[in-house]
């Protein structure tokens, strides 16, 4: 079984930007510094605990037959929360199906995520208002969409004006598996050619379902960036502070018109690929144990405790608030109304075409033709 990937691969983090060690110590980096204060670190902590709690509740709901599927973000909280905190209101995110930290961080009600994975909601959050796109289920499609959106921002004059309230950028989230897809590579080529304001944020969680990253890529992913003609940086994806610093710099660069950046957030998927997957079939326990020591939440807590930036009351309050959120989600998820077929007509076009109106009328007539058997 010794295939060289028993635990953290050699050198995996040597060239990664790190500002907070697994034991909670702040360290300096020559190129990047965390610009936030302890209040922001507390926010990181609270958000990470919250999304992990939502994630755990969603898995339980799936195991109880209430959701069709759930892709867990366990272990990737720092990568997502650190990145989403670096975004501004006018920025736009393209998440994959695992980016619950990003969607919730942008203000999407987690209940909407549950409804989607319950199979009764096609994805109906306010993408324009919240600045976060629907989940890309097909691997890598968002690479092209993000680049296209970024090129649109540039053409709308929303890049490089120097006005921090106006200049915008795009964050394209994807995983290590998606780097093998054509769409991501095409997106990188076009973003580079057109100098599009896109941050390609790759969460390398080491596993594309059961395919280890070593088998997918002979070279570290961030080094591919140079081939596309953009800067690439590897960051400790379990270090929310470093992720925030690196993403902030990349977004500043994009908004100011200096083009795209490739970020490889080096992290680990501690759970299954989805609830339909059983990772014990293809990876070893001790790999998981090693990464557990690098847990993204415990290091922030260690820092907050050691520096006195947060007290027991704070941690207790976060736990309590997260449990209350989970309880509310469970209750609301179980009472979500069943959708009707007629509702699907609402989600085809912004305004219904005459043909659609007629189809809807016919459908409603058909439904009404059943006697109510009460």
């Amino acid at each position: 079984m010794d295939d060289g990937r028993n635990g953290v691969p050699e050198g995996g983090l040597e060239d990664a930007v790190q500002l907070l060690t697994p034991t909670g110590e702040r360290v300096d980096h020559p190129d990047y510094a965390f610009a936030g204060d302890d209040a922001l670190v507390r926010d990181f902590y609270a958000d990470m605990v919250r999304v992990r709690r939502v994630d755990a509740e969603a898995i339980a709901l799936q195991r109880q037959g209430e959701l069709g599927l759930w892709p867990s973000l366990l272990g990737q909280e720092a990568a997502q929360i650190g990145a989403v905190h670096a975004m501004r209101g006018q920025d736009y995110a393209f998440p994959t199906y695992r980016e619950h930290g990003v969607t919730i961080g942008r203000g999407v009600d987690p209940l909407r995520l549950l409804a989607m994975f319950r199979g009764i909601d096609p994805g109906t959050w306010d993408i324009a208002g919240l600045g976060v796109h629907l989940y890309s289920i097909i691997i890598g499609t968002q690479g092209l969409q993000a680049t296209g959106y970024g090129m649109g921002l540039e053409r709308d004059g929303l890049v490089g004006s120097g006005d921090p309230e106006r200049d915008a950028a795009v964050v394209c989230f994807f995983g290590d598996g998606a780097t093998s897809q054509g769409d991501i590579n095409e997106g990188l080529v076009f973003a580079s050619s057109f100098n599009a304001p896109v941050v390609f944020f790759c969460q390398n969680n080491q596993w594309a379902i059961s395919e280890p990253i070593e088998r997918q890529s002979r070279a570290p992913l961030y080094r591919r960036a140079s081939g596309f003609g953009m800067p690439g940086v590897r960051v400790d994806g379990n270090d929310a502070l470093a992720v925030h610093a690196v993403t902030t710099a990349a977004l500043d660069r994009a908004r100011s018109g200096n083009g795209p950046t490739f970020i490889e957030a080096y992290t680990y998927r501690m759970g299954a690929h989805t609830t339909s997957d059983d990772p014990t079939k293809y990876r070893l326990d001790h790999e998981l144990a090693q990464w557990r020591e690098r847990d993204p939440i415990s290091r922030v807590r260690a820092y907050l405790e050691a520096t006195g930036a947060a007290d027991e009351a704070f941690f207790a309050a976060v736990d309590e608030e997260s449990d209350a959120l989970a309880t509310r989600l469970r209750r609301d998820c179980l009472s979500l109304p069943e959708p009707t077929l007629a509702e699907t007509f609402d989600w085809v076009y912004a305004t219904k075409s005459p043909e659609l109106v007629e189809q809807l009328a016919r459908h409603e007539e058909y439904v009404a033709s059943f006697e109510e058997a009460r």
């Binding site: 509740e57 339980a60 799936q62 195991r63 109880q64 037959g65 209430e66 959701l67 069709g68 599927l69 009600d109 209940l111 909407r112 409804a115 319950r118 199979g119 009764i120 909601d121 109906t124 609830t275 339909s276 997957d277 059983d278 014990t280 079939k281 509310r328 469970r330 209750r331 609301d332 179980l334 009472s335 979500l336 109304p337 069943e338 959708p339 009707t340 007629a342 509702e343 609402d346 058909y366 439904v367 033709s369 059943f370 006697e371 109510e372 058997a373 009460r374």
Partner: protein
Amino acid sequence: MATNEFRLPDPGEGLVEAEIITWRVAVGDEIKINDIVVEIETSKSLVELPSPYAGTVTALLADEGQMVDVGAPIIAISDGVGDDVPAEPADSAEPPEHQPTGKHDFVPPMPGEKMPSLADGEGPSRVANLVGYGPRTTEARRRPRRSGAPATHAAASSSNGDDPAAHVPAQAPVSSYALPAEPEAPAAPTPEPEPDRHVTVLAKPPVRKLARDRGVDLTTLTGSGPGGVVTREDVDRASRPAPAATPDATAAPAARTAPAGGPTRKADPDRETRVPIKGVRKATAEAMVRSAFTAPHVTEWVTCDVTATMELVERLRDRREFRGVKISPLLVVAKAVCVALSRVPQLNAYWDEATQEIATLHYVNLGIAAATPRGLVVPNLKGADEMTLLEMAQAINAIVSTAREGRTSPSDMAGGTFSITNVGTFGVDAGTPILNPGEAGILCVGQIARRPWVVGSGRDERIEPRWVTTLAVSFDHRLVDGEQGSVFLSTVAQILTDPGLGLLF
């Protein structure tokens, strides 16, 4: 006191059953929501199930080791609320019906407001509803239509007759889409019991048409597709003769009595090990009984010198295009079988009892019997007759390794037309194989061993050590005569003795 039953959910995608491995709680235990109550094993994985209810465990409704259908109750949990008080005080007397209006507003219901759920119609105790893949009372309920309404949709399904008798509740095991089994303790009278007994059969429209054309009643099938969807293969199988569609023939009674035909023994747990008959073993047993008691088997065998085949295999291994591809003499056997079947197509045929016809197939789906940790499976090479030798080698490797990993899907095994069983790998010389049901022939390949063999003639006649094997073919004598079986077997033997002769046929 309200008791909630937790029904087995589908923890994967489209699974229909799971085995109870370990109970983590016992009757009398106090549990909270999301406490792990049981570990189950599905065909995909081991999964721990958290409880959706808090309270006291009042009953474990399935034993460890038991296979449970998705949707069946596995544990009862009392919430400890006083007698006769519903868990959720219902302020509306009429059973809530799902509102067909508006979009979801995601506003949690106010206290006292009705909390719609799939289970609301079943009384105060909430029943786990299995979204996407589980029992859905809303889907299952078919309301009568007003007369005069267009009938087009009603005709689209062969399963939506309104006569409840047409949908026997015993159909319940129809995968996860069946209605929940009869509740152990009906919590409250349901307002409309009968219509709820309907079983909605899930199948795509082309499959429904196929079933109609073939006269197959979809409600009698157990769907092998995701979530119990009836697939084209299921209809194919049901409309083929031997496999399932001969309940009237002698096969069925024979199948029932045969396993019990042996001497009855009393269980003696000290001196014997017992495993439940299930899974691959059960499927194998049923298929073999059905085959043995439906098709009159004739077996013939021949011993031949396959030295040239062994040399051919060596030459192929050295070829560039076969680099990295595992090649065994079985590959040449498979190719020889395809050639021989083109010469004697009567062995690539099946007996259609329903239509009283013999169907000779214009394609070969060549089954390869594979021993797996779970037992014998026979996946087949679809369209083997059109494969090049390289394609065939790759296809054999693929289906065999899939089988060894236990991942052979029903569709991999469905639709076989002829099979090969390679008992030689176990070091035996020959056997009398039993037909894979629905097929007319099966070839058994014995071990290939160095044996003394008479070569040359006249003055040159001598004994040499050669690679020798025994081939046996069993065929269904209803549709294959001795002449055709013999020609087939000798053709295979000739090709293995001199692969160049394959060019002749």
